[in-house]
Subunit: 189 residues, 2 copies
DNA sequence: TCCATTGTACCGAACGATTGGTATATTGGG
DNA sequence: CCCAATATACCAATCGTTCGGTACAATGGA
């Protein structure tokens, strides 16, 4: 059995992910990442031999896992459609800190990030699209409609996060979350 | 009368704006901005005495003007609601190069950009919200509903641009543009 | 049991390169 | 001649990265 205590590396990855999601890839300097983790710059290279690129990949992998846990798993799990969507919206709210945190699908498609984490943003977007498409189909939408509805769902999530950031208010994100279930399954359920 | 030939400064601002919208603020180094404009560093500092910050402000001002021209003016101008929205969607498509170009409301709320152009992203978002709210009200929506509809419009624009970037496809943006008029004015004409 | 060896975790100092920015010419058209 | 425009050369600061090293725990053969 694995030890219960989280390794220092996992702690570091969490802090690194937070920093990347706060500053974006390019503005997250090693100095900042060092401060965020409490580890010296040189110590970071112990856990991440390839430097910033490795850190971005680790942060990306963590976010992928969090999205899976908070959104994908609930959606593809058991229970009524309504109940599953309820879980997913709660998960989304937690994942994005109620609208205060940004999404890597956005941040990691800007500047030098894509070179460090090739295909990551696309994979994350496609995973969300797949899950939402499944839900919309289950609610009785024709396959083609389901895909477009799912696309709208992802668009609304990303757009709401951008607008919330620009306005300095979480309200747009909250309202978006409230209408997500209706968008995806209408009155079915 | 102003000379017809565009000044070298205006040319530079256009190129700078393109570079900022391609790379984001932090990854747009002076070296890249120099290459993008074809101007040496000394020339850039001749036109923009405060350096990168001035360039970001100039790029921001240009984008504000372009948004005004392509979206706001058409929406608040004359003609039927439908016709005006048609003009605005055409304007949006041009402004964002059919979904290939990013929006400063997104890019300039990441990293160090906000310090260089304080309030710019918020002002741009609010200008769009105002214009869309006016249109929705004119279409007969109650004031409160109009505001929420306008918010959804901005959210869809920003979200579609993010998703298009992540997937490497302009399709999501195109579909979003197609449903924008219906979102804003329903079947009113 | 002793102790040499190995592995893990970390750090200060320095690296070469690049960052944003400045100072001082030089150029060339009006 | 004037002055906008550009070139050349430079700067301190920071960038991501590497190096040499310390402290300590675990391992394992004599």
């Amino acid at each position: 059995m694995m030890p219960v205590i989280k390794s220092s590396r996992e702690d570091a990855i969490e802090a690194i992910m937070r920093e990347f999601r706060k500053s974006g890839y390019d503005a997250a300097s090693l100095a900042r990442l060092s401060a965020a983790t409490g580890l010296g710059k040189s110590s970071l290279y112990h856990y991440f031999p390839n430097g910033k690129e490795d850190m971005a990949k680790a942060a990306g992998a963590l976010v992928v896992a969090l999205v899976e846990e908070a959104v994908i798993d609930p959606l593809t799990g058991s229970g009524s459609l309504k109940a599953r969507l309820q879980k997913a919206t709660t998960g989304l709210s937690k994942l994005y800190n109620g609208g205060k945190a940004s999404c890597l699908i956005d941040l990691f498609t800007i500047g030098e990030a894509e070179a460090a984490t090739p295909g990551l943003a696309k994979a994350m977007a496609e995973a969300l699209l797949r899950a939402f498409t499944g839900v919309a189909e289950e609610a009785g939408r024709p396959k083609k409609d389901a895909k477009i509805i799912a696309e709208r769902a992802v668009i609304e999530i990303e757009g709401a996060l951008v607008l919330a950031r620009a306005l300095g208010s979480t309200r747009p994100f909250q309202r978006m979350l409230a209408r997500l279930p209706t968008l995806l399954i209408g009155n079915a359920g």
